[in-house]
Structure formats: C-alpha cells, structure tokens
Symmetry: C3
Subunit: 152 residues, 3 copies
C-alpha cells in the first residue's frame, strides 16, 4: 500500500499572476508549497498525524495534499479560500476545504460549519480545529488558495 | 515506483448535506469510502487485480480510486452516477465513470457503452462487467457518487 | 514518503470518441499513456530527473502525471493542449500545462510565457524547454491532451 502520512500543517496564501496557472503557481509559492508535486486527496487526517508547521519538502516530492482554491480574472473581485482540520481525541481527523467570492471571515465560518457537520455525521467529537484562510482583492488575475499538506 | 493495486470493489451511493462538500463527504461515507484519502486515478484495472467486495481500509489511508460524482442544489432534480469495470480474460481491465442528470438505468447504460468502446478501441474482448450505479432526487443539496477503490 | 520520480517524457495527442470520457481515453491511448492509472500532479520536475522519450509503463501502473486537456462536442471547433517542462542547470524544473480553443502554435506560445514567469518568480534561469502541443478540429466529440508522465 501507499505509506500513510504522519505529519501535516495548514497554509493559505494569495497571489497575482500573468495567467491563471501562474497565479495558482504563485499562490502555491506564497503558501510554501510551490516547489513540490501536489497530489490532491480527499480528505482525512490519519490517526496520530502530528502538526509540524515548519515542514520543508525536498523539491519535486510527491506530497498528498487537501486543498481548495479560486482563480478570478475580474479586477476588484474579492475571493477567499480556507481549509480546516477537525481533530478528535483518539481517532482520525477530518479535513474540509472551501473557496468562493467572499471574505476570509466568511470562508473561515463556512469551514467551521463543514467540520462540525462532518463530525456530527460520524458521531465523533471535535476537540480542536486548525484553520488557515485568506482573502484577496483581484488586481488582474488572482488566486486564493488554502491547503493541508500531509507528509512523513 | 508506486505499488500497483491488487484488489478492488465497486460502490455507489447518494446523500444530502448542508453544503456541497458535506453532501460529497456523506455520499462517500454511504459508499463505505468516507474515512480514507481518495487519490483520484484515471482508470485502468491492473492485470490480476482481485474483486474483494468487503475490503476495509485503515482510516486515513491513501487509496487510489476511480470515481465520478455529481452535486446539485436544485430541489427535485434527479441526479445519477455510475462506474463500471470491464474485465478481460487475461490482461488488464478498463474503468469508466459517469455522472449526470438522469436515471440510474440511463447512467448504467451509458457506462456499458463506454466500456464497450474502450475495449473495441484496444482490440480487446470484455468477458465481464461490474457496474455500480445510483440515482438520487435532490431534497436540498445532494450528491450521487460511484467509485472503484483500488487496494493492496 | 512516496518515491520521487526519476524519469519523464512529454507527449500530446488528440482523438475523437463516442462520449467525452471515451474521447479522453482515446487521446490518452494516442499519447501512449492510455493503459495506466494517471495520478494528476501539480507540477515540478524533481532535480536530476532524466528525459526518456521511449518509456513503457506496465499496464495499470500508478503514474504521477502533469497534464492538461480540453474536450469539446462542438463540431468544427478548434481545440489545443500543450505542456512544457522548463529545465534549470542544477536544480528542479517547472512543468506548465495549458488547454483552450486556439491553435497549437498559440498553446505553445502560452506555455513558453508561463514557464518564463514561473522561473522569473523563482529567480531561476531556464536553460531548456521541452514542449509538446497538439491541435484538433472537432468532428463530433474531440479531446486534445498534453501530458508529462513522471516515472522511476
């Protein structure tokens, strides 16, 4: 089987770029995950995974990552992205991501609600949430991105 | 290289949720793949992969999975998702996924046609198809999902 | 951790199909990556990765791949896809992908600009670019696809 991740952090950032993909790339760089190969996952924190906010990845590594983002080319538009990790006392956690045309505070509130529903549905109790969120006012082409990289 | 999967099953389920991502999460739970990290793949059944309908995954595992889904927030709308695995006698198989605003029967028929074309194009013969399909009438926010998890 | 890839090539192809997913599947076959499980990555060439244009993958392998594609069911529409790998002298490279309703030449030019911006932003120098691009005039349902498979 593929090795199950053991560490994580949460990050969010925004950036402009000359194209949509460059805006995304620049937001990844600003979020400290620009020089790796993100493999998108959907979205459980394995039991016992440790929070390590200063993780550094070897360039080009394959990094399982839950993320949400929004790219806009409408100048003046407000965009936001948020991720959250809901942590249980003894078992696995749940990761939620959100992006939309709203404020950072609204994105954060949305994530909290999503995590609560995910835990309710699993009849589990949330003892902590780690949330990262960002908002960005588009100048030309902007990207707001939030991510939970999982690592070893 | 990444280890090639050796087992699989097919699953389909639908659910409502308070948000689109929660509807997706709840459909994953209903399909028995809610507490893992899906890595989306596109979409071949490796040679010799065995069908194991009762697979249980350790929480948080990275699970290569072919899947299709549709999320709707239009009350009353009928949505459906289907996956199918076309199996050959001695070689690899082909996985197809579909989702749309239609019945389960229509989604299933669509998958059969897709698998036949995939085998024709490869000049291979289908000896069996395993299909999972589901339809759902949206109440508030609903998700129909069908998946082929691959495992070890 | 997941093993970091060591080899790559670039490929692009287009095809028609009876459905959108079959058009995609047929384009993958034409690009020589149709009988594997693509895991989509975003998008760095690990340091030291070697270019091997004749790579053959065991069927069903999990292959980390950066790719872009466009599917159209508008007869007569011109679609194109391109990928590019920007290579540095001593460090990692950057992969960019693009697809749109344009010519192959336009897609190629777009990729070059994207790679230049990605290197500028990282204060790195591009010493070489490998680009694969394709254009396709849609007959019924067509897919143009470009990919950078990473391997071991």
């Amino acid at each position: 089987m593929l090795p199950t991740p053991k560490k994580y952090f949460v990050t969010a950032a925004a950036a402009e770029g000359a194209t949509k993909l460059n805006a995304f790339d620049n937001a990844l760089l600003a979020a400290r995950i620009g020089n790796i190969n993100l493999i998108r996952v959907s979205s459980i924190l394995p039991p016992g995974t440790e929070y390590e906010p200063n993780l550094v990845f070897p360039p080009g590594s394959l990094v399982p990552t839950a993320y949400g983002y929004i790219i806009s080319d409408v100048p003046g538009e407000l965009i936001a992205a948020a991720v959250g990790v809901g942590i249980s006392r003894e078992s696995f956690g749940v990761i939620m991501e959100f992006s939309g045309k709203c404020t950072e505070a609204e994105a954060r509130a949305k994530i909290e609600g999503m995590i609560r529903e995910a835990f309710d549905r699993r009849k589990m109790e949330v003892i902590e949430m780690k949330i990262a969120a960002v908002e960005h006012r588009v100048v030309h082409i902007g990207c707001a991105l939030a991510a939970v990289p999982l690592w070893y």
